[in-house]
């Protein structure tokens, strides 16, 4: 789960990382009032769960309240990569002598977190890593509490050898590592970490991604959750894993791997999946009806495919859920079902009652049939 910059800055500040005081606004008037309070030049920053805000016009400098109001109005009307901007952060503009990059993230191959530090801050770090890999410094961490102050100084000195600066940076790095462990993050990032002309270091941006599996023990961060839509919330509360896509074929599958393979097969045979949706292991009928509701809310959906391989999931449970959904919802699109595995025969008997449902015996046959029902393969 990603949280907003202003939320991440609050979290960082709690660990002693220096940030500038700012406030969030949801209206242009509020933005103007905050700018007046802060005084001087301010930055108006879109708060969205995606990168590339600057390029999209979501970050603007304002010399006073009136300009802040105008920028806030424009930014609050933006949609950045599919994310509508609902909040802006207003912060004092900082004078910057130099910009650095600091982050901690999981290195899957190494099975532990890695610090990434660079003197090339303020830029797209992947771009820096690609073009000038020598400017990226890495340091792997063992478990919580194992990162020593002298190690922080060594890493900091690699990106800023000046004795007046690197100890301050090392202190920020130590706190960043502490925040990484304590928040169950999969990424904590400061880009840029700024050095001011006065010799202070400041986190001018902040990013935290939290491990979804750890949300149960991070109640403070869990409160920051913002579902992208009502349907995303319904899916999450029902324990469904759901990702909307652009196509026309709604998919209901048990298991993430099979769900991905189903999307791939739809595309392979010339169709376009409308979503990824994994109903998980034990599928009670309610999960199935919720899945149908979510999919049917997408006006682009022209047909629905169920691809269920019963292991723990019992096919007859899913069949009952499909019947319930057919009874309770007005379903005007064709439904193609492939159910195999545990209690397959019972499921087939149940579905024989449903005239609106077509069955297929194999995954390939089901996918080809649903593509035909959705209007045929793309030309």
């Amino acid at each position: 789960m990603n949280i907003h910059e202003y939320q991440a800055k609050d979290v960082f500040a709690g660990y002693g990382i220096p940030v500038l005081p700012g406030k969030v606004a949801t209206t242009p008037d509020e933005a103007a009032r905050i700018a007046a309070e802060l005084g001087g030049t301010v930055v108006v920053k879109a708060q969205v769960h995606t990168g590339g805000r600057g390029k999209a016009g979501g970050v603007k400098l304002a010399s006073g309240p009136e300009e802040a109001r105008r920028h806030a109005e424009a930014i609050l009307a933006l949609n950045i990569k599919g994310h509508p901007v609902r909040t802006v952060l207003i912060v004092p503009a900082a004078e910057i002598a130099k910009e650095y990059y600091l982050a901690v993230t999981l290195d899957r191959a190494a099975k532990r977190p890695v610090i990434i530090a660079s003197a090339s801050g303020g830029m797209d770090i992947e771009e820096v890593a690609h073009r000038t890999p020598e400017k990226i410094h890495r340091f792997h961490l063992d478990g919580p509490g194992t990162f020593r102050s002298y190690q922080a100084r060594q890493v900091a000195a690699k990106i800023e050898p000046r004795r007046s600066v690197f100890p301050k940076m090392a202190a920020v790095l130590e706190r960043l590592v502490e925040a990484y462990w304590a928040t169950d993050a999969s990424l904590v990032e400061i880009n840029p970490l700024a050095l001011t002309p006065g010799g202070d270091v400041l986190a001018l941006d902040a990013k935290i991604s939290i491990d979804d599996n750890a949300m149960y023990r991070q109640p403070r961060l869990a409160a920051f959750r913002e579902d992208e839509s009502e349907h995303a919330r319904m899916a999450r509360e029902m324990g469904l894993s759901y990702v909307p896509l652009e196509g026309t074929i709604g998919c209901v599958v048990n298991g993430a791997g099979l769900a991905m393979a189903t999307m791939d097969l739809i595309k392979h045979y010339g169709g376009e999946p409308a979503n990824f949706l994994d109903i998980g292991g034990s599928s009670n009928p309610e999960k199935v009806t919720t899945a149908m509701k979510i999919i049917l809310a997408d006006p682009e959906v022209k047909a629905i495919l169920f691809n269920i391989f019963g292991g723990i999931t019992r096919c007859d449970d899913v069949a009952r859920g499909i019947l319930l959904a057919l009874d309770g919802l007005s379903i005007k699109v064709p439904v193609v079902v492939r159910l195999t595995g545990t209690n397959e025969e019972a499921a087939k008997a149940i579905l024989a009652q449903a005239k609106a449902v077509e069955s297929a015996d194999t995954m390939d046959a089901a996918v080809k049939l649903v593509i035909a029902r959705a209007g045929g393969p793309r030309a």
Binding site: V243, H268, M363
Partner: protein, 291 residues
């Protein structure tokens, strides 16, 4: 032969009194697996499906000598269950539980590395040596004894592939679901190495997915060190970057971990990659010279 589990394997079920633990204990017993003890702290002395329950893994081991454990406890207790098993000297620990925080797994992984135990999972369906034993939640009835090893990051997709193999008359030596999390105890490379050393296994099917670089590392191993043919499949070709596809590990991030990269890495190591699951049996027969 087969790898990791066979007819002699004696199994301890951690979390046996829970809903999942009890249900799948029955499934394992029905398959013929020698489940010899259960563990639920505070419920020692009771019985589940005729299996004695102990308060700790150490007690269960002392009473039975069992060397394998399977874990069905809620995510918040799963890391502790793994530590308990390895500290009790269990050689093979299979963690079915899903939802373990990555930070927990970082420390668990390091502890497993220091021990003489092997961990499979977490967030996995377990493993089966058809006709001999199953440890986990896989549906036994789709499997058939034979000479093809199967290793996969997913559950139901593995069932789909195994079902296709069985229907094509291709039996399996052992099928392992290694789990869909970013950090897992046994990865593709480990499983391939064991299959390479197993006389029963003549070929391996490796079912990967987007995210991480385990498939690429496995491909390098196949090229450098394997004599047996491997057939691959990668799920998630159409997954958008930055979106978690159900599994915590299935996410394309930082321009890495795409299905295309993985397919290219496999092909570069001489591993044919099926475009669709239904192509897998044909490729297996081909690499075995039975096509």
């Amino acid at each position: 032969m087969s790898i990791l589990v066979d007819e002699k394997t004696q199994v301890i079920v951690q979390g046996i009194t829970g809903r999942d633990g009890s249900f799948h204990t029955q499934g394992m017993l029905e398959y013929g697996t020698k489940v010899v003890a259960g563990v639920t702290p505070g419920k020692g002395g009771s019985m589940v499906h005729g299996i004695p329950v102990h308060d700790s893994v150490a007690e269960a081991r002392a009473a039975t000598g069992a060397n394998t454990s399977v874990i069905y406890v809620p995510a918040a207790y799963a890391a502790d269950a793994i530590y308990e098993a390895i500290d009790a000297g269990v050689k093979l620990v299979v963690c079915i539980s899903e939802g373990l925080p990555v930070n927990d797994m970082i420390e668990v992984y390091a502890a497993v590395e220091r021990s003489s135990s092997r961990l499979i999972g977490p967030n996995c369906p377990g493993l089966i040596s058809p006709g001999k034993a199953k440890v986990g939640i896989l549906p036994g009835f789709i499997h058939q004894p034979g000479d093809v090893g199967v290793v996969s990051r997913s559950g139901t997709l593995t069932y789909q592939v195994v079902d296709l193999l069985t229907r094509a008359g291709i039996g399996q030596s052992t099928c392992i679901g290694i789990g869909g999390d970013p950090i897992i105890g046994t990865n593709f490379l480990d499983a391939l190495e064991m299959f390479e050393n197993d006389p029963q296994t003549k070929a391996v099917v490796m079912i990967g997915e987007i995210g991480g670089t385990d498939e690429q590392e496995a491909a390098r191993f196949v090229k450098s060190s394997m004599t047996k043919p491997v057939v691959g499949f990668i799920a998630g070709r159409t997954a958008p970057p930055g979106k978690r596809m159900g599994h915590a590990g299935a996410i394309i991030s930082g321009g890495g971990g795409t299905a295309q990269e993985k397919t290219e890495a496999l092909n570069a190591s001489g591993i044919p990659v099926a475009r669709v699951p239904s192509d897998i049996p044909g490729l297996v027969l081909k690499v075995l010279g039975r096509g």
